[in-house]
């Protein structure tokens, strides 16, 4: 376990805020399940951390999802290519 992982999985009290990196990994679904549950439990009662978490920039997965679900352009382009001789 790396120091960062140890920090993420350490017991978190309601008054002990996760750091911004951990919050970022949480919002983007990048923590392991135990750490996810711990940060989620903290966020239920901490609007301060919510304000920090709101500022987390999107990553490649979010960008991919936004592009791939934006509309039929990608698929129709592929279909057009597929139907050409």
């Amino acid at each position: 376990m790396t120091p960062d992982q140890a920090k993420e999985t350490a017991t978190m009290t309601p008054s002990e805020h996760p750091d911004s990196e951990t919050l970022g990994r949480f919002v983007l679904g990048r923590l392991d399940r135990k750490a996810m549950a711990r940060v989620e439990g903290h966020l239920l009662d901490c609007s301060q951390c919510g304000q920090v978490a709101m500022q987390i920039p999107d990553d490649r997965l979010v960008t991919l999802l936004r592009v791939s679900t934006a509309g039929p352009a990608t698929e129709s382009a592929a279909c057009n290519a597929a139907s050409s001789p």
Binding site: G29, M36, S47, L61, L65, R66, A81, A82, S84
Partner: protein, 198 residues
Amino acid sequence: MANPLTSKSLLVKARDRSDQAAWRRLTELYEPLIERWVRPHVAQRADAEDLVQEVMTTLVRELPGFDHNQRPGAFRAWLRTITVHRLRAYWEKRDARLASAGGPDLREALAQLADPTSALCESWDEEHDRHVTKTLLKSIRLEFQPATWRAFERQVQDGQPASDVAQDLGISVNAVLIAKSRVLKRLREKAAGLVDVF
């Protein structure tokens, strides 16, 4: 929330030949994509369908021995290599007249597909990642409460700020962020090894 027992990635499950359901899901995921890849480079739709079956047959035979080894894009590149080999074999089987119908465009396409840095390869890779994430996202939708899904969609797909989503849905900002986190976590688990989103 997703069941912890389902947290193995689709790739890991499909490598176990006894897991027929995982193999079926992998096939359903990849057949449409491979057909889109090969269709512009063959004469008939039926030929494309045959090629898809050849690629999937190779995949089922070779997958248990495939070593991802945490290399970025390893599965995607491996699948592309199999597809290009089958496409090349398709043209080599045809007589010279038919092969020439493919002409310089086909030769150029095959040359580009052999080069991972080419524009065509990058286009295939991008299409792969979009297709896989979109399809896997659909596949996990029923694992979540409708309210969780709505909050996720509004943030991730529509690009709305969490504060706006919270106000519109009448829930807290933190609940909106938790919804996003849960769905992304599940999707990452499902897509592990297929798309590099870690």
